[in-house]
């Protein structure tokens, strides 16, 4: 029987690159449950993609044993959290599974907006937060300044924060002791009805869905008939256990305060939503745990196989990805230009990019992606409201009463010298200025309300470039507001290309249309005839470019030694055309559909 007083459930909160994963590795290493041979370099980041991007996509957990200086052995459940705003909800549920949080702050860079957001999230979940200062061995380290900043900005005690270098293993012991000392032991009644929080779930082809659970009250073991309170799914538990490093260790039962996994031959992660409460179907708890919400897709785009014949492959791949990612939505759609594909919904742009990369990398698919858009609300004159995810489905303007677009509250942390350029950027993106809070003499938090569709493209890149990398950014959904929105259509050789249409604010329509046309002009190869490229709103052309007719495509010389080379050249040219999309008489390279995603600069 494990005593609750010997359990510590905690997570690590940090800005990207501030050393979260490295610290996690050191903790796992030094708690000694694993031999170093078992260690992958970064144990928690399982997926190849995660490691490359240096971020954690899906939260995972690991259990280790620490023999503390007081002579007792403690069970550490380290719960990893995703580190990006797209996964805000997942973060909050992972935090809810913990009792404490280690706040890692870079000794040179100090607090960033994202750190702040996650700390507030942790505090909201009543977590005990204690700071550690990492990268202490950097020449530019300013630990005292960082300590003061933590106290000033967050208002938590920081003077005795461990000074560490996770990379070089300095000060890790102090962190381990601090975990024992500062993270409260879980409370909860093991004899009460089962109440467990799902903080993640993954699909495994052998075990089915594996639920990651924090047991708040009661116990769960093999044979328990469980019910997911929100989705209503019922199953009998096949196995419970805890997490090794990338492995599952079965055990007899999980009781109040423990963190582990449950399998119950569930086929779909949609039945085991993050944040849902698991209870005993025969002896249910009275209420579900607070905080559950169904996550909605914020960003949509069309995904099409570059090779039309690969449509079934794309469908299978999406199906498989969705097994593991309940926040991925998709439904079939057809585009005149791109053929058969899917309209896919994502939590945010990063989520979109990750899925896109996984489809390309893990499933070897060549994709054409249309410009991402947000979900607009279209109020029709007949009183009906539709949620618009595909610009092509916009009703006729005569049927539209008004439209609404999603707005986010954004916090941008920036050093004072860049306040000007950043405010200008927010202005350009239709931001509504709320406030500037100076957190110290050289840094400030700008608060803005911004339309989501203005930040899903390249806001982050623009922010970084205009602040020389110093600004950091965080946002959350605020709600919907009426807005003057129009559908911008692109006509190539007088034919509308559905896959290039998008919704834009009326005031930006001209600028966006102009840039689209310019970009497409460079992307579309010359044909035998002249090709007008037009941007139009409501049938009225607002911008135009022309791809001039092909004037010269000739090889002046072709003698004996040139023939094989020349043939290869022609073959390459032909191959390139095969991969183009035919719209009317115009062949459009697939890159054209993608390049319009990056209109800035």
């Amino acid at each position: 029987m494990i005593e609750q007083s010997r359990i510590r459930n905690f997570c690590i909160v940090a800005h990207i690159d501030h050393g979260k994963s490295t610290l996690a590795d050191r903790i796992i290493e030094q708690t000694g449950l694993l031999t170093s041979r078992e260690m992958q370099n970064q144990v928690l980041d399982n997926m190849e993609l995660e490691r490359e991007r240096g971020i954690t996509i899906k939260s995972q957990a690991v259990r280790t044993i620490y023999k503390a200086k007081d002579g007792n052995e403690y069970i550490f459940n380290l719960i990893d959290t995703p580190g990006h705003v797209d996964f805000n909800y997942e973060v909050s549920r992972s935090l809810a599974a913990c009792d404490g949080a280690i706040l890692v702050v870079d000794a040179a860079q100090g607090i960033e907006a994202q750190t702040l957001a996650n700390v507030y999230l942790a505090l909201d979940n009543d977590l005990e937060v204690f700071p550690v200062i990492n990268k202490i061995d950097l020449p530019s380290a300013r630990p005292d300044w960082v300590k003061d900043e933590i106290e000033d900005v967050i208002g938590i005690e920081a003077q005795d924060a461990p000074l560490i270098s996770a990379k070089n293993g300095i000060g890790i012991e102090d962190v381990l002791e601090a975990i024992v000392e500062k993270v409260p032991a879980p409370t909860g009644d093991p004899d009460a009805p089962l109440q467990g929080l799902i903080f993640d779930s993954v699909y495994d082809s052998y075990k089915g869905v594996i639920i990651f659970i924090r047991v708040m009250h009661g116990r769960i073991k093999k044979g328990t008939k469980i019910r997911m309170m929100a989705t209503g799914a019922c199953e009998e538990v096949v196995e419970v256990g805890y997490f090794g490093a990338g492995q599952f260790f079965p055990c007899d039962e999980l009781s109040a305060g423990m963190v582990g996994y449950v399998t119950a031959s569930i086929k779909n992660v949609k039945d085991t939503r993050v944040g849902d409460t698991v209870t005993d179907a025969d002896r249910p708890c009275e209420e579900p745990l607070p905080g559950y919400k169904k996550v909605n897709s914020m960003v949509y785009c069309g995904m099409y196989p570059a090779d039309g014949a690969k449509y079934p492959d794309l469908r299978d791949a999406l199906e498989k990805l969705q097994l593991n990612d309940a926040s991925l939505n998709y439904e079939p759609e057809t585009s005149i230009a791109l053929g058969f594909g899917f309209r896919c919904g994502f939590l945010g742009l990063l989520h979109l990019e990750i899925i896109q990369e996984r489809l390309e990398r893990e499933y070897n698919l060549d994709l054409v992606t249309t410009a991402p858009g947000v979900v607009y609300r279209v109020y029709k004159t007949n009183g009906e409201m539709i949620e618009l995810t595909n610009p092509s489905n916009l009703p006729d303007p005569s049927e539209i009463d008004y439209m609404e677009e999603p707005i986010v509250s954004a916090e941008i942390m920036v050093t004072t010298e860049f306040i000007g350029p950043i405010m200008q950027l927010c202005q350009e993106r239709r931001g509504r200025y709320l406030s500037t809070d100076y957190i110290e003499s050289t840094r400030a938090v700008l608060k803005y309300e911004l339309p989501l569709n203005e930040i899903i493209y390249d806001f982050f890149d623009a922010l970084k470039s205009r602040s020389r990398g110093y600004a950091s950014f965080d946002y959350e959904m605020k709600g919907y507001e009426p807005s003057k929105l129009v559908k911008l259509d692109i006509l190539i050789n007088k034919e509308e290309v559905d896959a290039l249409s998008f919704i834009v604010h009326a005031d930006s329509a001209y600028e966006r249309g102009r840039r689209m046309c310019e970009k497409l002009k460079d992307e579309i190869p010359r044909h035998l005839f002249e090709i007008p490229i037009q941007a139009a709103v409501g049938g009225k052309v607002i911008a135009r470019e022309t791809v001039r007719a092909m004037r010269k495509d000739v090889l002046a010389k072709c003698y004996g030694g040139d023939i094989s080379r020349k043939k290869k050249l022609l073959e390459k040219q032909k191959e390139g055309k095969k991969r183009m999309r035919q719209v009317g008489t115009v062949e459009i390279p697939q890159s054209a559909f993608m390049s319009v995603l990056k209109l800035d600069e």
Partner: protein, 390 residues
């Protein structure tokens, strides 16, 4: 082993030049005297070893190209020709061309060429503007060229081709006009005028952003002007970039477009024998090795001795493709009857849809059993040729 009339072309590659031109992507480089002498020995050895495969055949044309073949001494060139004559049957009326560059030949060498049986010279002039010649990295001036040209006439050459270039950086239409006028005044039998291609790996390619090339529109205007002026002066365009007086087309070069077999000897030289295309190694040590080892006697299938990486065995489809995209380079185009003759199928059966599309788009003309490019078809000939690939 070679079809029907047993005629083939012989190409001899001399990979040396005095100085590499800045647009040149041919296999050539400056070399010392020892290196040249050594190479000529290798070349002669290759010629001799290869000849066993050609005992039943006759050479219709010889073309010594480079590089700058004329940077070899007369004695060296003579050794090569002696070897050719000793090992191969050279048709009496064979066209024998040597490429020469102004500044590398004078009277005596030219006379020696005559004695060897050389009956055609191809002189690289490119432009009559010394400033442009400098930009191109040519080693000669207009005066050097004139000296060489008149020297060649004096030596008795009555079939001379002059190479020119258009669309050069810094060249405008007026400059090209002057060049053409000056060359026409000399009345060479043949003129090639190439629109500059900036090839990857050349200094021009590396400097392409700093250089001011005429745009496509100007390029085509220059091309049209060239055609107009040369036609008026009695030359006939017989290929995209080649012009000749009556009866003076380059037989050797035409054989490339007519798919006549040819044997290439020398560094990196490519061959086309019995519907196989293959090449010699382009590095000197490998070439030396090949000559020393790889040319055993009695080998009927000559391509089997070549580096397999360079060998392409052409399928019937490949041959049809080549037939079209090489044949259409010539203004007379391709003959429908000849297509039938070669492949046993009518050109319409194979390419019917493509042909009607291209005729509709006014890129091709069909007339009296022949198919050929229109003016615009020439301008966008790659677009046209690509359509004939399967």
């Amino acid at each position: 082993m070679i079809r029907k009339n047993n005629l083939f072309g012989l190409y001899i590659h001399i990979p040396f030049c005095v100085q590499k031109c800045r647009y040149c992507d041919f296999l050539s480089f400056p070399a010392g005297e020892d290196e040249k002498a050594d190479y000529v020995t290798l070349l002669c050895e290759e010629l001799e070893k290869r000849s066993t495969c050609f005992s039943d055949h006759s050479i219709a044309t010889v073309y010594v190209g480079g590089g700058t073949p004329s940077c070899l001494s007369a004695e060296q060139m003579n050794r090569i020709f002696e070897k050719v004559k000793a090992c191969y049957r050279l048709q009496e009326e064979a066209e024998v061309t040597v490429e020469v560059n102004p500044g590398t030949v004078e009277g005596e060498k030219l006379l020696a060429y005559r004695d060897m049986g050389v009956n055609r010279l191809s002189i690289g002039l490119q432009s009559t503007h010394d400033s442009l010649l400098k930009t191109l990295g040519r080693i000669h001036t207009l005066e050097d060229f004139l000296h060489t040209y008149h020297g060649a006439r004096k030596a008795g050459f009555d079939n001379i081709s002059v190479d020119l270039m258009s669309a050069l950086p810094g060249q405008n239409k007026e400059m090209l006009r002057t060049t053409l006028e000056q060359v026409i005044a000399l009345q060479p039998e043949h003129i090639s005028c190439y629109s500059l291609i900036v090839e990857e790996g050349t200094p021009f390619y590396r400097m392409r952003d700093q250089m001011c090339f005429p745009d496509e529109e100007e390029d085509r205007e220059m091309y049209e002007m060239t055609g107009r002026m040369l036609t008026e002066a009695g030359y006939r365009r017989y290929e995209i970039s080649n012009y000749a007086k009556e009866g003076k087309t380059s037989v050797h070069n035409s054989s490339y477009w007519k798919r006549v077999p040819y044997l290439g000897v020398g560094l990196g030289a490519s061959s086309f024998i019995e519907e196989h295309r293959f090449s010699n190694p382009s590095s000197m040590p490998e070439y030396r090795q090949m000559v020393a080892a790889g040319l055993g006697k009695d080998h009927l299938q000559i391509w089997k001795m070549a580096d397999p990486d360079t060998v392409t065995a052409l399928s019937k489809e490949d041959c049809m493709e080549e037939f079209m995209f090489l044949g259409l380079r010539m203004m007379e185009g391709v003959s429908e009857a000849e297509f039938m003759d070669c492949f046993g199928e009518s050109v319409d059966r194979v390419y019917g849809a493509v042909l009607s599309e291209l005729v509709r788009d006014k890129l091709l003309v069909r007339e009296d059993g022949r198919i050929f490019l229109t003016g615009y078809g020439i301008d966008v000939s790659n677009y046209v040729f690509e359509k004939f690939l399967f």
